[in-house]
């Protein structure tokens, strides 16, 4: 069994035999032709375009009948390219000038254009359009090389599709009755695999890095589009859990639609605020759709990842402003860059550390790269006038770090004052509690923080000294460990004493079995992955705070992780059987 973590881009869960889709990456060698052959070769280019246009027109028409708006648009754009005379001329000119084959000219010119998008363009959305150009290249080459299209059109059984990256043509050819999910090594939230998976309503996880290298065709793969993981060859227990989960997911989601508009309130009337964790600005809408009341964790690393240059202030401002405007007067908690460890910036990508998770990461990284840090704080402060923005520092381990970060924030405020740029002077400044040191000194930190947000993933990893990505020890990783729970209780109690807000934004907040416990520990704000909001709300609406308090008391008296997690699951099953 191998668990791979990626980015969840389309919700749902599926499990099935995997079909590895070839990337169809033809590499065309440069072949020269006799100059007397050039006119014939140019005619081949024209025929290739003509055939490709014909093929695409038929596909477009088929999509028309199937009502595939998004996909039809993609084909319409490709058709414009194939009909673009200046594109064709560039190719025929190359055949003419260098006496090369039609295949080589097509491939060369289209790859030049694609690389223009990949390397010369700042905008992530535009950059991913290189996939469109590769798709056009492949279509032309298939005609020129006479390769028959097989891909995924002739499926006879259910599969989950695994690929390095998927082209629009490949995804549009999917038969929805058979393709149950998508997982890819590359890609982001705006890649075709993501867009198409969402429009088809099948789960998808992207950015799994080397999934295609660890999986073989026919392996069983679980695609969990809610948590953003893919599991290769899961063990029997995992298969059983996921089969049950996947069967019930659809039915449950349907049922949960109904509670979207209802408040998150326990049966005995205690109001629980449900916020969303997001990674990209365009997820803000998804949070609203799922009934989220704001953003409890806006991860900002996306600004740095998958791009050739570092993001300037204005770009950052626009990304924050976009989200803040969606939520208007509801809170948006922007977490400053959590870079380092496994996520690097452009200039530091190569600097390897022997022990990165104990190294220069997160707030430490920011405090040593002040220009970068100040640029981000400026952008956040500028966006703070547009709504209810809060700023949050990650991985604080001691009071000095917090004071230093706040001092820099004040420096930036003074700069803005001097320049007459408006911002919210009373912006709330909070911290993430994700190390044992922060948890144990929470009472001190609470004096200088406006709120706490408990990041259970890192808190668990650092408390138990377990890397959950490491298969050899990952079974030791559990937020239900008594050590983790006692730290959480300390943090929550200290926050109460200092009368500051405390929320949980780690994955435990998205897991139904932990919800009662968190409520019982005193948490009233949860921030979770958007697709899970309705389900967690349903759990909240099915319990009373009294039950939760009793459960927490019981659990805190237990001494083993196994006993606790078993107890939590049983309790959960009683309140909302379909969620477990």
């Amino acid at each position: 069994m191998e668990i791979k973590k990626g980015i969840a881009v389309s919700p749902g869960v599926s499990i099935g035999k995997c079909l590895i889709v070839d990337s169809e990456d033809y590499r065309i060698p440069r072949r020269e032709i006799d100059s007397s052959q050039r006119m014939a070769e140019i005619q081949r280019v024209r025929n290739g375009f003509r055939d490709a246009i014909e093929e695409l027109t038929a596909l477009e028409r088929a999509q028309d009948e199937a009502g595939g708006g998004r996909i039809k648009d993609i084909f319409a754009v490709h058709l414009r390219f194939l009909r673009d005379r200046s594109l064709r001329r560039r190719i025929t000119d190359l055949v003419h000038a260098e006496s090369v084959t039609a295949e080589y000219a097509v491939s060369t010119v289209l790859r030049e254009i694609a690389s223009h998008f990949e390397t010369g363009v700042k905008d992530a959305y535009m950059r991913e359009r290189a996939a469109d150009i590769y798709d056009i290249e492949r279509r032309l080459l298939r005609r020129l090389l006479g390769t028959k299209r097989e891909d995924i059109l002739h499926l006879t059984e259910e599969v989950v599709v695994v690929a390095r990256e998927l082209s629009p043509t490949q995804t549009a050819g999917f038969n929805r009755d058979y393709v149950r999910g998508i997982a890819s090594d590359a890609g982001g939230r705006t890649s075709h695999a993501a867009i198409v998976a969402r429009s088809l309503g099948i789960p998808a996880v992207v950015a799994l890095e080397d999934l295609t290298e660890v999986v073989r065709g026919g392996d069983t793969v679980v695609i969990d589009g809610n948590r953003g993981i893919a599991i290769v060859n899961p063990d029997d227990e995992t298969v059983r859990q996921y089969e049950a989960y996947s069967r019930e997911f659809v039915a449950l989601e349907h049922k949960l639609d109904a509670i979207r508009e209802k408040p998150g309130v326990t049966r005995d009337g205690v109001r629980i605020k449900l916020l969303g964790n997001i990674e990209f600005p365009d997820e803000a809408e998804a949070v609203l759709e799922k009934g989220g009341e704001g953003i409890g964790l806006y991860r900002t690393e996306f600004l740095y990842l998958n791009r050739p240059t570092e993001p300037v202030e204005q770009e950052q401002y626009e990304a924050y402003a976009e989200t803040v405007r969606v939520f208007q007067d509801r809170r948006v908690v922007i977490r400053t860059f959590d870079l380092g460890a496994d996520k690097y910036t452009q200039s530091r990508r190569a600097a390897a550390e022997p022990n990165p998770f104990l190294g220069l990461r997160s707030i430490r990284f920011c405090l040593q790269n002040l220009t970068m840090f100040k640029t981000q704080l400026r952008a956040i402060l500028r966006a703070s006038v547009l709504g209810q923005v809060k700023v949050m520092f990650p991985l604080i381990t001691n009071i000095q770090e917090l004071m230093q970060a706040k001092m820099i924030l004040h420096d930036v405020m003074e700069d803005l004052d001097e320049e007459g740029i408006p911002y919210n002077r009373d912006i709330d400044v909070g911290i993430m509690i994700e190390t044992p040191s922060a948890a144990l000194t929470a009472s001190t930190l609470a004096r200088d923080a406006d709120f706490f947000s408990i990041g259970t993933n890192d808190l668990t990893q650092y408390t138990l000294a377990v890397d959950r990505g490491n298969e050899l020890v990952s079974t030791l990783y559990s937020a239900a460990d008594p050590a983790v729970l006692r730290l959480m209780r300390t943090v929550i109690q200290d926050a109460y004493k200092a009368q500051i807000d405390v929320s949980v934004c780690g994955e435990t907040a998205s897991e139904p079995e932990y919800v009662m416990l968190l409520l019982g520990l005193g948490v009233r704000t949860l921030s979770l992955t958007p697709p899970m909001i309705p389900e967690i709300k349903q759990v909240i609406r099915s319990v009373t705070l009294e039950e939760c308090n009793a459960l927490a008391r019981k659990v805190l008296a237990m001494n083993s992780e196994r006993q606790i997690s078993g107890y939590l699951r049983n309790a959960g099953r009683k309140v909302l059987p379909e969620a477990f």
Binding site: D73, S86, K122, Y125, D132, R325, Q328
Partner: protein, 106 residues
């Protein structure tokens, strides 16, 4: 000079527009732009600071990679230059390519 005379007979029209829809001139807006430009007889070019593009070529238009906030100069030359300019400006700035404007109020 013959070229010069021909230019004089023709109408030349220019304007500068700003891309205001959220995702910029990505594929679908580029397609609308090219389709609209193609309806006019005039030669139409679009340029940012660095590059000129033929407004009737989707390849050239998308390669401008004009994101939100980019200013583009549109120049039309021909009998229907003025209509062309007006129609294109309206598509970009008034209709925002039929896309919703960026959320919230500016």
């Amino acid at each position: 000079m013959q070229m010069g005379e021909r230019v004089l007979e023709k109408l030349v029209c220019e304007t500068t527009v700003e891309i205001r829809n959220a995702d910029g001139l990505h594929m679908r807006p580029a397609m609308q732009f090219v389709d609209l430009a193609g309806r006019f007889a005039s030669d139409i070019t679009v340029s940012n600071d660095e590059t000129h593009a033929d407004a009737k070529s989707i390849m050239q238009m998308t390669m401008l990679a004009a994101g939100r906030g980019t200013r583009l100069r549109i120049r039309a030359e021909g009998s229907d230059a003025e209509e062309a300019i007006n129609a294109l400006r309206e598509l970009v700035e008034t209709h925002l390519f039929g896309e919703p404007p960026p959320a919230g109020k500016d």
